[in-house]
């Protein structure tokens, strides 16, 4: 599970994430939704321990992200916005390499590679170089890499951005199946319909602050919105109005 406690991040004195708190339970999918520059990626990177918080902390899979980053990494699967795969290696070689970095090896790793490639529909491309993959195939492979070590927690940064309908569908299925497997899934997205469909709870983040957190229905009800998109627009416009009043 994930438990975020007053997490803050500043870049050169400018606050980007302003003391946010929320949680993700086992077997739950939480969507972090917000406009560009809201602090979504920064939050996810802090939780994945690739960025150190300025203040506050979080417990991820039972480990403190500031005190125990290596243990956190061993129990978290991360999908960044850029898949970051080795183009000259095949699908299996990429997975094998990352599996080895996670301390796996031998027949168990080979079985896991076959299992993941079959699960994501990439079994036929096992020995194909990633250079030859479509964007959708790369994203699926990056998802397989994120769970190669069977983590309890998944952190996915805009997992469906730029994908066609079928590839997006495969990613959504992956998230839902991960939930069924008991994983805690936190993902960021711009796509509100997708978030509404997949998430058990959503956190609307604007200007580095969480404005609303709850089930999509609760978030809508709180501001009298008919859809999640309306609720999202409400918070973004409200915050923009506050900012312009402050500036004015």
């Amino acid at each position: 599970m994930i438990e975020v406690k007053g997490l803050e991040k500043e870049y050169r004195g400018r606050p980007v994430v302003k003391g946010i708190s929320f949680d993700v339970q086992p077997g739950e999918v939480v969507g972090l939704i917000g406009p560009n520059g809201a602090g979504k990626t920064t939050t996810l990177r802090m939780l994945a321990t690739t960025l150190r918080p300025s203040r506050g902390t979080a417990i991820v899979a039972g480990y403190d992200i500031v005190q125990e980053p290596l243990q956190v990494r061993a129990h978290v699967g991360v999908l960044p916005t850029d898949p970051g795969l080795y183009g000259r290696l095949t699908a299996a070689e990429n997975l094998r390499f990352y599996g080895q970095l996670c301390g796996l090896g031998g027949a168990a790793l080979e079985r896991r590679i076959d299992e993941l490639l079959a699960w994501l529909g990439l079994a036929g491309a096992k020995h194909q170089r990633v250079d030859e993959f479509s964007k959708g195939m790369r994203q699926k492979l990056a998802l397989a890499r994120a769970v190669i070590h069977d983590p309890q927690v998944l952190i996915l940064d805009e997992p469906t951005v730029g994908l066609d309908v079928l590839a997006s569908r495969a990613v959504i299925n992956f998230i839902q199946e991960s939930r069924q497997a008991g994983r805690s899934v936190l993902f960021s997205s711009h796509y509100l319909l997708e978030a509404d469909r997949v998430c058990d709870r959503v956190a609307i983040i604007v200007g580095g602050e969480i404005c609303a957190f709850g089930t999509p229905q609760d978030v809508c009800r709180a501001v009298g919105a008919a859809t999640l998109e309306d609720a999202f627009a409400h918070w973004v416009e409200l915050r923009a109005g506050e900012v312009s009043r402050r500036v004015g």
Binding site: L70, Q100, L101, G105
Partner: protein
Amino acid sequence: MLAGIWAVTGMALRIFWRDKHALFWGVAFPLMLMGLIGTVFGNADNLTLRTAVVLPQPSHPLADGILQALRSVAALEVTVEEEASAVAALRRGERSLVVVLPGEEAVRALAGGAAAAPVAGPAPVRVYYDESRMQVAQAGLGVIRAVVGEMNQTITQRRDVLAVEAAGVAAEPLSMFDFLLPGILAMALMQSGLMGVSAVLTGYRERLLLKRVLATPFPPAAFLAGLIARFTLTNMMQGLIVVTVGVLLFGARVVGSYLDLLALMLLGSVAFLSIGFAISSASKTAEAANTLGSAVAFPMMFLSGTFWPQELIPEGLRPLVQYLPLTPLVEAMRAVVLRGESLAAHAGGLLYLGAWALAAAVVAVWRFRWE
């Protein structure tokens, strides 16, 4: 941990093997260069250098010793002549080299005699050559330097300079490939470090592959150790291919110890890997790293005696040449390959190269960025 490091090395080796550009620049290019230069400038299979020796008046035992040593080198056809007529013959292309030996006073100082007047530097052995005949100049200067170097070494050990013999000096005619092999070998190591390392590291950084490592439980430093092992292995492999092809295909000879040559390859590899890491740490993009790497590599390639002796480099640039990290590596490799000298004879230069490696490593660690 070790399994993880080996996984990184294996991954990087696999990528190198599948990268046709890296293979071309790392392995084929040095060989092509050696073949091309050796064929164009060294078209004679073996060089016989018609060497005029100008003895001082009056002559002295050391001058006679040097003359005898030069005569013992099969590559040289030695005649004793007057300076003016010998230089004129050189200009007409009738002589390959003119060697003017130092006078008695300078030699007494050189030999450290009690009555010797103090001198500012070693007694000069002036060598005239024709710049338009590159292959002759390169091979000839190599031989003369070898003989004089041997004499110097002996003089510092014994007072009896008359007994000097040109032992250990290339006793057979030199080919252009003998001269080129160590230069090309050193150049290949430098290229791999300066261009190869920086291209790979900045490429990984730009494609966010380094950042991905941070999200795994694998220690980042161990990832870098795996990459260093990959470059060391490929450098050794490239070096062995260059030496093997140079010897078997081009007929180059290695007079000295292959183990010494291997040790030099290892030191050169470490030093230029370290400089390559520093360059990639200081560069934000792959293009910037490539530009910086080229800016550092190309002057060294042409100034450090890779393709021709340093004597051919303009006088004004020579002080700079001595400070380039490639220079001591080329000098030591050439000394081992051509003259069979020991590494101890080049300890100063090799320590200097080691200092470069250390300084570059400090910069690399200080400036390294994962993203």
